[in-house]
Structure formats: C-alpha cells, structure tokens
Amino acid sequence: MKYIEYLLKRLIYSVVVLFGLSVIIFIISRVIPGDPARMALGPHATREQVEALRQSMGLHLSLIEQYIMYITNLFRGDFGMSLVSRRNVLVDLKLYFPATLELIIYTIIWVVIIGVPMGVVSAAKKDSKVDNFFKTLSFSAVVAPAFIIGLAFQLIFGYALNIMPITGRLSSALSASPRITGMLSFDALIQGDFQVFFNSLRHLLLPSLALSMPGIGQVSRITRASMLEVGTKDYISVMHSYGVPDGIINFIYMLKPAFIPSLNIIGMTFASLLGNAFLIEQVFSWPGVARYGINALLKVDVNALMGVVLLIGAVFLATNFIIDLLMGLLDPRVRLSEED
C-alpha cells in the first residue's frame, strides 16, 4: 500500500469519527430538558415570539431534518447563537481557542524536550540512581492529577516564593501586541515586542508545565522501554564494537526507532491532555476555550457547549491524523502493512 493510500484511509476514518461525534453531540443537545427557544428568549418573551423562533430554529421539524439543518449550518460557519454572549458561537471559539492552542503547543514542547531525553538517559544508565529517580518522577507525574500539580506550582512558585505570576496570560500593566494568531507569545515574537514576549512566557510556564506532567511521565516511560529493546539489536552492538561514541548511538541511532512508540503514546494521551486543559485553565484563570466551555455548561448554553465539544473532538482527531502522518514517514512498516 502506498503512503498516499494510507493517509487517505486515515483521513476518511477521521472524518467518519467526526461525523459520529456530531451525531452524539446533536442527540445530547436534543435530550436536554426544556424548550431551547424559550431559553434563548428568556421568561418575558410572548408566546408568538417563542413560536416564531421555534420555526426559524427548525424545532418543528423531525429529528433527522433538524440534524441535516444543523450540519449544513455548521458547514456555512453558523454554529448557532451563544445564549450568553449573544454572538455566533464560531466568533467566540475564534476568540478563545488561540489561548488554549498556545497552552497545548508549549505543553507538547515540554513533553518532547523533557520526556524523551529523560527516557534516553534512564535507559542508558539502567538501574542506576538517575534511572530510579527518573522512574519515580515519571510514575508520580502520571499518577498525580494535573490540576493538583498545577495548584502545587501555584502555591510554591506563586504564593510562597513569589517568583511566578499566578493567573492570567499577561501582566495587567502590559497590553498585548496587535492580534495576528491570537497567541500572545507568538504575536509578540513576530512583532519584536520582547517585553510582552517574555512576560507571556512567564505566564505560560506554570500552566503548561503542570499540563505536560502526565505526558512527560508516559513518554519517558515508553522511551525508556523501547530504548532498552532497541539496545539489544545486533546493529547497536556492532556500532559499540566500532567505538562509535555512546551519545551518538543513544540519541541518533537508537532514538529514531525508539521514538515511534513514544509518538504513538503522545497521540493516545492527547485526549486526557485536552481533558486536563479544562482543569488547568480553571486553576490558572486561563481565558481559553475550555473555560468558555465550563461557563457555557454552568449556564446551560447548549450551542456554545456543542461548539466546544465539537472543536475539542476535531482537535483530537487532527492531532492523531498528524501523528499517523509522521508515523508513516518514520516507520515504513506502518504505511506498508495491510491492516489499518
């Protein structure tokens, strides 16, 4: 099977899952008790107004017709009106998503640049003190809930040592650079505003580190295990006997095959990462899409909630598609195997 064919297969699969997700979300939104039109208009609207809105929302149609209407509206960019902000939910999502995306990007950076080397060193120095320390550390990182780690960071670095900002994205004295991506640190960097850049980095550090802890633990565990496995291969012994430096063997020749399972794990833990983002955003008052979702939830803002869940599902599928793509590039066995 060719690479393109493999990618197409994965893409179709993602689209099918996304479609299924939209059905589930739609069903959930329709079993919510209460009349959506009445809720949108509030208690003071007249019966005629409610009836008119019911007509325009299509609530008199059959469920299947309603679903088709919902999907076609989604494709037109109409996610429905948020009951709280009174705007198209898509506008809200565009406003809040960059903050979440920024958090996730830094989280993944930490996972890769901390988790992978930890695993490599652990495997190279198997059963040493360093290995045992890293093993304990990664176990704790996986087991401890991320939001409690976040709270601990806040208490230690924010309140006790007072060296780190506790909440928000930027100090109130500064104003963000003009919006390009909506991600403050990148916007500031592009426009050369280094004061804002470093300030936003400082704000990002604690939440993104807390969010990355479970990932770091998982990745270092898997990297260690697969490094140990690769280490028993003949070609590695040959390299050792030729006197190739350990560092080069470890980080170049062994890491490439050993990195593939880690990549897979990053994809698999991404769901829990997105879930944890809800908690971390709450702990650090991070104005992202997850916090928006929580507020929507508490106020029974159905359209906003559906938008958030759909967006999170789409992000998850997109990430896994990118990971499949990378895996295919790195490992010919993945793209050449018959089964999916």
Binding site: S140, P145, F278, V309
Partner: protein, 285 residues
C-alpha cells in the same frame, strides 16, 4: 489440595511483596477503606460532613482540636476529608459496576463473533474514545443537573469503552485456539463458551485494570467536582473542597492542601496496589 492452595497463595504473596511499594499501596488502600466505612465513628466531628456550621470557629489553622484546621463555616477539615474518602470510593465503585459489565460483554461479543459485529462495536468504541473522557462527562452532566449521582451516570456511560477494547484484544488472541474450536464442534452454546470458557482468561487483566481505574476515576471525579460539575456543596467531596479552598489561598491554605493531599494518597495507593497485582498476576496492559 488445601496444601497446594496454601502454597499458591504463598507464592503469589511472595511475588506481590517483592516490590515494597505494592505493600505500601495495599496498606494505604486498606486503611482508607476502613476509615471510609467507619467514618462516623472515627472522625472527631461527624456532624461536620453536611451543612452544619460553627461560626465561632471559622478559618482555624491546624491545631490539636482540628488537626487539619477548619473551613469558612467552621467545619473540621479532617472530618470532611475522611468523609471525602467515602464519596471517592463510592463513585469509583458505582462507575465500575456500571461500566465493567457493559464493556466486558461488548468486548466478548466483538471478539467472539468477529466480522461485521466486531467492526461496528469497535468503530463505535473508537468514536466514544475520541471524545476526551472529561469532556464527555462534562456534556452528559450538563444535560442532567450536576450532582454526585449524575456524575456517576456520566462516567459509567463512558467507562465501558476501555474494557471493550481490553477484553476484545484478549478474546482475539485466543479465539482460534483448539479448545475453543473443539467446544464449538461439540455443539456447546455460544453463551457458555463466551462466559464460562473465554471470560475466565480475561479476569486477571480486568482485575488489574479495575484497580488502576479506581485511581483514575477518583482523579476524574475530583476534577469534575473541582469544576463545580460533580458533587455540590455541602457534600464533602474532595474536589469540591479544593475548589472552595482556592478562594481562600494563600492565607487559609489548609482548606486546599489537605483535601489535595488526600486525593494524592488515594491515587498513589491504588496505583501502587495495581502495579503490585500486575506483577503478581503477570499481566501486561
């Protein structure tokens, strides 16, 4: 026979106790279970589990009469933490009682029959798995009003997926074994083969997964309560207590720190125990 049985128990215990942390995990878990069961008799102020208030004793820092301090309405935090154990364990128990049988039956069915049935069940499972569990639980608890019972339903409704995958993968690995084939040839009913012959092969894996999942569910439940979507005050759920405590940081830190430590104790205890069982039963998850 009883001699042999004793020997087996001894051997299993030996393998389990090889790792110190497994034994610590077991001790933590047993202690917590006892504390949770006998909470009304072991806590100094059992009345403080609910809405009772004592406004003369608000925000007391930890002392001999209140070892974990008191909260914003004067309730003893230690008492509430012990009752919090109760709610955490209850939550895990109910979620697993809902989720494990559903997941196991679906996994058995998918693995045993194969073909189209397997494909439909697996695709549906994948779809459910593509939604982060917390998000799914959020949406479900949004439909139903947020409280402890609905949180249990929400988590139970998504929890089966992991067991479907686990059980199915084991069934697939043994479904073409000769003993299954000969049973089929003998004309033994499908249900008998599935539940009496195949299921016992999955028990060790399920047991280990259940132990580790208890920790995971406690963590998720605490997260949901922290977000205000699980148990509502004055229920002494650990997550709820933490979220109320954060309003009083950093001066009244004990309101946040002790419930947080209690959650850590729970999740570490069950994970250590689960890892020990994993070594003992020689299970790979």
């Amino acid at each position: 026979m009883s001699f042999l049985k004793n020997e087996r128990i001894k051997e299993n215990w030996y393998r389990f106790s090889q790792n110190k942390t497994s034994v610590i995990g077991l001790i933590i878990v047993l202690t917590i279970i006892i504390l949770a069961i006998f909470a009304p008799y072991l806590t100094p102020y059992p009345g403080h589990r609910g809405a009772q208030t004592d406004f003369r004793n608000t925000f007391q820092s930890p002392s001999r009469s209140h070892i974990f301090g008191t909260d914003d309405v004067g309730r003893d935090v230690f008492t509430r933490v012990i009752f919090g154990f109760r709610f955490s364990l209850l939550l895990s128990a109910i979620v697993l009682i809902i989720g494990v049988p559903i997941g196991t039956i679906l996994g058995l069915t998918a693995g045993y029959f194969g073909g189209r049935i397997e494909m439909v069940i697996l695709r549906f499972t994948d779809m459910m798995l593509s939604i982060p569990p917390l998000v799914m639980a959020l949406s479900i608890s949004a439909v139903l009003t947020p409280n402890l019972r609905n949180m249990m339903i929400a988590l139970g409704a998504i929890w089966w997926t992991w067991y479907t995958r686990l059980v199915r993968s084991i069934v697939v690995s043994i479904r073409n074994e000769n003993f299954i084939k000969s049973l089929k040839l003998m004309g033994i009913g499908h249900l008998h083969i599935m539940f009496k012959e195949i299921l016992p092969n999955c028990i060790s894996e399920i047991l280990v997964k259940v132990t580790l999942d208890i920790a995971f569910i406690i963590q998720l439940g605490a997260g949901l309560s922290f977000l205000g979507l699980g148990a509502q005050p004055p229920t002494p759920a650990l997550g709820t207590m933490i979220s109320q405590g954060t309003f009083h940081l950093p001066t009244d830190w004990w309101m946040t720190v002790f419930p947080a430590l209690a959650i850590l104790l729970l999740v570490f205890g069950f994970n250590w125990l689960g890892d020990g069982l994993k070594d003992m039963l020689d299970v790979e998850l």
